[in-house]
Assembly symmetry: C2
Homo-oligomer: 491 residues x 2
């Protein structure tokens, strides 16, 4: 049942701040119930802080059971979630079920990683009592949880990067209590998921404050949360402006804290000579461009090819496949407005390749083009247009292609198509410094949840290019290594 009130540990919040209703993006209709912004984060953070010492001492095995129990309760809510997510985000049932499976898989992946203790990355140096000129003491070090973590939900992953998504799951896995800020656009979804998490907290007898979820319209409450002295780290998925605002708040604190914000990327795909004409490749490209109505953080917003035949094959191939594309309802009004603004910007700065009229609240694949010199000269062409829009950058030769690579901002991904050549090596050497993940003859969408995944990248792709938001290394973000010196009972 969705009550419209926050969870402060196991209690309901009192609201008292701004109220609002979610809207169905397909119809514009208001959805029941009314949601009530909390007025302060203090109670939730105090609750998380109070839970930290107990929760961080819970055994790895018990935390693993807790994560698996959350997955069980989440699965039990699948029917309700498919309906509510659909109403609040226009995501189709199959996508919601897929995202649900991924969310549960993440919980189980983290559960496995803590069961075997590998998350601790234990290191041990034996004592050398006879060493000269002085004895060496025994030293052991391991990772330990940072403390209460604030997590901000993503608009585009209402399950996998929201209330119990990758950030929350990885923080809970290592022993950090979490205070979640629900996303204003899918508060009902957040309510259903939070109820599942709370049920698992109760069933597993975890400390009450291990999980809270706050409703808050606007940015005020989120800013309070990041500034709160008891919060020790932040996870965020959203816009560059939003992420940077949180980074700045965190950096200005008396004690600055780490912020892991996944923000913006245009995920370039580089086509080496002769690599643009293959039908299977073009089919795959179109699927990657249009999947989720272009609303994935790994959506390819930049296609870099050589002038002449390659450009022709690419534009012809895209035109043929996209000319009858149907518009799809975007996640929420604000996203559509930003999309429309971005498309208008591209219209001014680049030439049309494939265009569809902008219909209210709906996105349909737009393809623009410009040459490398134009691209390099205008930073506005480097900005992400979140949604179905991509820019072809046409290079007169391979040097221009390398210059485009060098001119890029930080990216989540960079892909290369074609044969392995000396040029590929030079391109890879540049792209390695620009992106968290390089894809060879493939597409960036469809982030594999596995040990070797890096879903991160240099700023502005993320706030912290040393981190990944997907895979077991995501847990490292919420830990620090602690060392114990001396023979002792303690470790």
């Amino acid at each position: 049942m969705i009550t419209g009130y926050s969870w402060i540990g196991g209690r309901r919040g009192a609201g008292g701040g701004e109220s609002w209703q979610a809207r169905n993006p397909a119809t514009g209709d208001c959805l029941e119930p009314i949601f009530h912004s909390e007025q302060s984060v203090d109670a939730a953070v105090a609750c998380a802080d109070a839970a930290f010492s107990e929760y961080s001492a819970v055994s790895d095995a018990s935390r693993a059971v807790f994560l698996r129990t959350i997955a069980t309760h989440l699965r039990a809510a699948e029917v309700a979630l498919v309906e509510r997510v659909g109403l609040e985000t226009a995501l189709p049932p199959d996508r919601v079920r897929g995202e649900m499976a991924r969310t549960c898989h993440q919980l189980e992946l983290f559960a496995s990683a803590i069961e075997d203790g590998s998350w601790r990355q234990r290191s041990e140096d034996a004592a050398e009592p006879g060493r000269q000129p002085q004895p060496k003491p025994r030293l052991v070090s391991e990772r330990r949880p940072l403390g209460p973590v604030a997590v901000f939900c993503a608009s585009n992953f209402p399950l996998a990067y929201s209330v119990i998504g990758g950030d929350t799951a990885s923080a809970l896995a290592v022993g950090c209590p979490v205070v979640v800020m629900a996303h204003w656009a899918h508060p009902g979804t957040a309510g259903i998921v939070a109820q599942a998490v709370r049920a698992a907290v109760d069933e597993c007898g975890m400390p009450e404050g291990v999980f809270s979820m706050l409703y808050g319209r606007g940015n005020e409450l989120g800013g309070q949360l990041v500034a709160h002295p008891a919060i020790r780290a932040v996870g965020f998925t959203g816009s560059r402006r939003g992420g940077r605002a949180l980074m700045d708040i965190a950096a200005a604190r008396a004690e600055p804290i780490p912020v892991y914000a996944e923000m913006s990327a245009i995920n370039p795909i580089f086509f080496q000579r002769g690599a643009t004409g293959d039908d299977a490749m073009l089919d795959g490209l179109v699927a990657s461009l249009t999947g989720g109505i272009g609303q994935f953080c790994t959506n390819p917003g930049l296609l870099v090819c050589l002038a002449g035949r390659d450009e022709e094959a690419l534009t012809d191939g895209l035109r043929a496949r996209l000319k009858d594309a149907e518009p799809g309802v975007m996640l929420h009004r604000g996203i559509w407005e930003n999309y429309a603004e971005g498309v208008a910007r591209m219209e001014k700065l680049a030439r049309d390749v494939v265009r569809h009229p902008l219909s209210d609240g709906r996105g349909c694949q737009q393809v623009f083009a410009c040459d490398a010199e134009t691209f390099l000269a205008d930073k506005a062409l480097h900005e992400e247009v979140f949604g179905p829009s991509t820019l072809i950058v046409v290079c007169r030769d391979e040097d221009a292609m390398l210059a485009v690579a060098r001119g890029l901002e930080g990216q989540l991904t960079a892909s290369i198509h074609g044969e392995a050549t000396d040029f590929s090596r030079r391109l890879v050497a540049v792209l390695e410094t620009k992106a968290g993940r390089l894809v060879w003859n493939g597409f960036p969408t469809g982030v594999e949840v596995c040990a070797s995944m890096v879903h991160g990248g240099p700023y502005p792709a993320t706030s912290d290019g040393r981190s990944t938001a997907v895979g077991p290394y995501a847990m490292d973000r919420f830990t620090r290594r602690v060392c114990w010196q001396g023979e002792g009972w303690w470790i």
Copy 2:
């Protein structure tokens, strides 16, 4: 030969900024030659940036040889260094030789860690081409260097945390070019060390820009360096004010970068009931307090004991051992002035236990005391007094001791003496969240250079409590994980 000019890669800087001479802290005399501040960091950073792609592609084996060659050239300069370090810092020959050995050991430790490739922390997921509903691609991820790194030298470790100290060595180890800011108080030492590093660059045929060293009086040039867009990370050892200033500059950049600043700590030692009277313990404590004239970052500035017999045994033991202590020359005038100011602050806020008159430029162990309530009520008592001064905090019972532990800021170390009891466990649970390293029945000074060491800790001990400045994990600071997806020739 010490020329007084910066190294811009393999060339000498032109100076042109403020000039100054080092002073012998024992006599106040100016030392030859004159040092010339560079006017801009641009040439050195451009040089480092140009070297990055080549240097990051140098094989692990060749970088290891480079580090070992630096150590060889450094050892060849030992006689000159013992003399010059002594003149510039008043550190005695044995200490300089010990620090020299440690500096070379660090270089060799990092060399070993890169020779076996372990620094890359490679992870591999095999492809599953037959997986349903979609195939799993092959994914490999490894750590890669961040790019050019700025390193600021420490006043108190003119070798081990200066020009080719732990920060520079760990950055070079993973493939990052380094631009060093020399410390104004020991510029001649910096010149000798830089010459040794440059000789190794030439001998090993490394790219010219892999190492530069800038002279700059004042904070202007260092601020420029941290703000420079091509600098990707910062290592710093020094004051809390200095470190925070660099953190703020780095956080305000268009692309914020990580800062690893080791700043300030009072390294509390907790004495459980009955643990203050042992003679061997008291001898060890006094050695830890007075070593290096109290000018170690791990110097114990806080001794926490129980009222009554324990307090009496501790104060009697310290009085007996410290009453005839001789003053020693401190590292430089600025450090002495801050020390004198800190001692004056303690005089006002706490009672005397062991006092020695303040003689110009010299420090001699001061011991103050106050009760737990006073300590907890006044943050000025939590501030580090860098140099030989310590504060005994007297607790009426174990609960007060726990309250003191909870009231602490972030620390590099926290030590506990006594028997293992339930109380020890409670104390450790608190101190784990406060310090990077816990020491059981030992002393925090004498940082072991080994795999399990954590020389770090929550703010304000360092800017980034997730990192260590000592041991092979120090290399992680200058890397990010990159993932390669797809069957390919490339990894």
